[in-house]
Symmetry: C2
Subunit: 327 residues, 2 copies
């Protein structure tokens, strides 16, 4: 059996209280001699503390649960790096729970799991909550924060890029390059997608461009969504496209190639994400670049009550997938 503090107490002759105090480094409540003896015996026995028991009695854990929606794109790693970095600095552990992709059952289950483990905070990444999810979260007193999704509800904390601005800037950039028939590809019907659509539409409107419904090709941020959108755009003579993700942009590019065409001559594309994919693609993809690490860091700040930036700014990174358009 695994040794416990009882074993150490028995072997040293001290009470379990003293052993516990030494092990927890409660300074000033034990002598140096006692400490040395206890630590020595602990080492001899190969003692390892039982986190479960500790957390049970302390009624708190140092664990942040990250529930992630497996969006078919690749942004999540950067965010998790940021979370990990900030959490480590705050002496918190990070556990990650996968919730499938838009899978309501798994998603709800993951929240329950996190709550049942009495984690210190819950981060919901790219998750679109339903009524039941929100009820569950608000009823528990566990702090939570949505990441990379902005629910547009003052009551509910979230950290994400400014989706409206991201799409607005991308669209304006294409307009500045002379494009007038501009698409938006790969967005979904949820919050993130809607916000990007609003930014896109606002940019069109501000520049007196009458958009068409079909210029918006819905999807799930995936590579496949990009591939599917290419042909419609060609048929509509769209010349520039804002892609909802790097994956979607890459899909558009691939579809162009399959049709013997190339970016940016066949189509100018600016992608929203700015991951390594943009560099790997040929030609490299111009992007509205999200600061994923920052989003991760801020989301942890948000959890622990520090005032965090809820809308992280994005930046334009010019690469080679956009060309000037002349009528």
């Amino acid at each position: 059996m695994k040794p416990t503090i009882k074993d150490i107490a028995a072997k040293t002759g001290f009470s379990i209280a003293t052993v516990s105090r030494v092990l927890a480094e409660k300074r000033g409540s034990y002598s140096d001699k006692t400490r040395d003896r206890v630590l020595q015996v602990a080492k001899e026995l190969g003692y390892r503390k039982n986190t479960l028991a500790m957390e049970l009695v302390k009624k708190k854990t140092d664990v942040i649960a990250v529930i992630v929606n497996v969006t078919p794109t690749n942004f999540s790693n950067g965010i998790i790096d940021g979370i990990q970095e900030r959490a480590t600095a705050l002496r918190q552990q990070v556990i990650i729970l996968y919730a499938g992709n838009r899978n309501h059952v798994l998603q709800h289950q993951a929240i329950i799991t996190a709550l049942e483990r009495s984690v210190s905070g819950i981060l919901l990444m790219a998750i679109e909550p339903d009524e039941a999810d929100l009820r569950l979260l608000t009823e528990a007193k566990t702090p939570f924060c949505f990441v990379s999704v902005n629910l547009a509800d003052e009551q509910i904390k979230s950290v994400s890029s400014d989706n409206y601005q991201a799409a607005y800037q991308a669209t304006e950039y294409l307009i500045a390059q002379g494009h007038r028939r501009i698409g938006l590809a790969g967005i979904d019907q949820y919050h993130t997608g809607s916000q990007r659509r609003s930014g896109y539409q606002a940019a069109l409107k501000d520049n007196h461009i009458q958009g068409k419904a079909a210029w918006i090709q819905m999807g799930d941020y995936s590579y496949q969504a990009g591939q599917a959108a290419f042909k419609p755009y060609r048929q509509m003579a769209v010349t520039g496209v804002v892609a909802a993700s790097d994956m979607t942009a890459a899909g558009l590019q691939k579809a162009a190639q399959i049709n013997g065409l190339e970016l940016p001559t066949a189509l100018s594309v600016v992608s929203i994400d700015g991951t390594l994919i943009c560099d790997i693609a040929t030609p490299a993809l111009t992007s509205i670049t999200q600061n994923f690490t920052r989003i991760g860091i801020e989301s942890v700040n948000c959890l622990v009550g520090e005032n965090a930036t809820q809308l992280v700014p994005v930046t334009l990174t010019e690469r080679d997938s956009v060309m000037k358009h002349v009528e």
Copy 2:
């Protein structure tokens, strides 16, 4: 305060034992009427079980810890999907602990964390253990299994692709296409890298090709490693390269483009991984494709004692980054 079974017991008039039995669905030890009443009150109070307390008394958890080394490449998602899939089927939860990249302190710490939580099993993904890590793992009686790393030690369980075969096949393929000056780029000095080097060298030898030391460009499987390797290969007039990862292959490709050259005319490349990166790249990258999902599934099987395939086979996927070479 969060309601507990005591509260339910008080309100229903039953003892905590009965309440516990109902909640744990210990069939045959309570009447239907009792069950209904308990469940009703539990719902009223918003009861949620305390996993910590449960695990403490049961002395077992249904949690698999995955400790992942953040290798600067992108294979991990597929494996985690597989782990998740199999774990869910076995009613196990999955928590993921990040261990940095070749960071011995973090790595050791992560193992300790997992052990202190008395998880039911530990999966070590792309981790190279040191002496202390192995001692820790073997001394604890918690099952563990290395994933995507084969320690070449019968005693230590692991599930990975057949690295030797992967590199051997990649090399043979290039030879079959007429290449004679063949490089290996991006591997590290650890187990995975060494095994791939052996496969590569064996293929050269079996085909009576005298390799040169400089044909092997070491790295860390990263994009940058690929970029750095391009120039040396050109100078050595190497015509075909086995890339240690998709990222490395993409780096080689990018470096070629920066020099105004293209794959496969400037260099034939076959990549080991076969992720979506291979499709996104232009031209698409021929690869030795790993079955990541399968690796994930088998690693969980390995943990729970089912006899699992320890060496998962790889397959060649021909795309557009290799051309025939004629002297």
